[in-house]
Symmetry: D2
């Protein structure tokens, strides 16, 4: 890898499923897997969030931190926090979820999504133990590939 | 069949995807397939609503009318009409959807759901051309079975 | 339907899972669903034969007769009767299977397959109660469509 | 891991898809993934062999060697080498396949299968770069788990 990228910090309006706000800064030393999603994105519901649940169930918390990032860029009024909480309950999501900070300039894209120049949802980010961004993937990633990458990052 | 059951009329607060309110009464002469669902019910999103879309795509409108009935009995505050419209858009639902009338007695179950004594979602109802209730099924039904039943009711 | 087609008779070398040889002639009065397959055709193993099992399980034997037709046109030496019996056991096939009669003119295509001008496997044939060919479909057919068609043919 | 196990050598009658016979001995330095299967085992065809194909496609040949081991313990007469070759062609298997050596004592179980005390098919073996057996799993393993394990063994 020619050059290591230090990614933007997560800019989160509200955290759910966690007592304390999370930040990439304080997670240094662990591999971080961020699953950016929207509740109304069928690919997220069918593929990405079940994968996030599998990763959260498989790895030791000391090795990998799973974060869901709710990056709403469509149907803003419909995506209430109330709905997100109910959605998390029904989809048995127990890892921390951050609601991406809405834009202040009228853009439909929330701030973390913009800072990472994400193209849509689902998007997967992997951040290594030193805090570098090692994967930025739009769309679904195969489990075999993701398992390999996570184990490689843990072993570094 | 020993005895034919005339089912309760649909009691709907708001209709979407249709210019006119629907009723079993005015649909006499057609087979009616009612798919009762909730947006946050994983079995509805993964199995029942895709099946409703297939039925709606396959059959002649003169033969079969597909209706989605949004029977919210959990997470009432989250299930806004705004969210339902966005959900229908993202899940490409083009058949009529009725929002079941909320109870007035403090019950979590809406009125049509109660009148039919539905046990949960998804629930499938088939009403024949004469207006009799011929199937009341809690859970997912196989496509092969449903196709057979619809064709039999059309042929009557 | 402009014109009704009387299909060629099945030309079978060996019947399995049945005491008596079957023929379209003697099955007059029932709907017949013929699933042409090869053991080594992945689409047959994954989609067509499981569907044949579902049809065989769902319908009354007086209404629908399910027949598997082993139409080997590739890997002839590998497709032994011994293997077919083991395959049927492992895939829990309990409906009658006919081994299509090999060609006598050196063609790789067996005789029933040639007579019907089948393009490959899986192929589905539906024959109505009067013995007319009502469906000839190359590839997998949806369960919803097949259920509808079978019920319509039964109701005629 | 309390104690490292040096596994029995593969005892193979015939190798396919490889010019030279393979042995765990000569593969020292690479991680070896052995997928024991039977052509007529539905779980092997649907889950295990497609996974073996994915592993073979994903990893560098210098890191991981994928081997299919045809461990026939049922339907011996049906499982001819001719059929296996046709099966490999139709299922697009390009990694080396070894036909497990039949028993000489009348046991239905072939010799490698017996030496490893495998309980059935599919069975997955992982051998590390030093030649130790690190995983012996009866049934299907999740892709996420397998990816993690392979990457960990490569990183050792």
């Amino acid at each position: 890898m020619a050059e290591l990228i230090t990614p933007p910090e997560l800019n989160v309006q509200t955290w759910l499923n966690t007592e304390n706000a999370l930040s990439l800064e304080t997670l240094r030393g662990k591999v971080v897997a961020v699953f950016a999603f929207q509740m109304l994105c069928p690919g997220c519901v069918q593929h990405s969030l079940p994968q996030a649940n599998r990763v959260h169930a498989l790895f030791n918390r000391e090795d990998v931190t799973v974060i869901g990032l709710h990056t709403v860029f469509e149907h803003h009024k419909a995506n209430t926090e109330e709905m997100l909480k109910a959605f998390m309950h029904e989809n048995r999501i127990t890892f921390p979820i951050g609601i991406d900070m809405p834009s202040v300039d009228g853009s439909p894209f929330p701030q973390t999504m913009s800072a990472y120049r994400m193209q849509g949802t689902p998007t997967l980010l992997l951040i290594d133990k030193q805090g570098y961004l090692r994967k930025h993937h739009f769309g679904h990633e195969q489990d075999l590939v993701l398992g390999t990458e996570l184990a490689s990052l843990i072993a570094e």
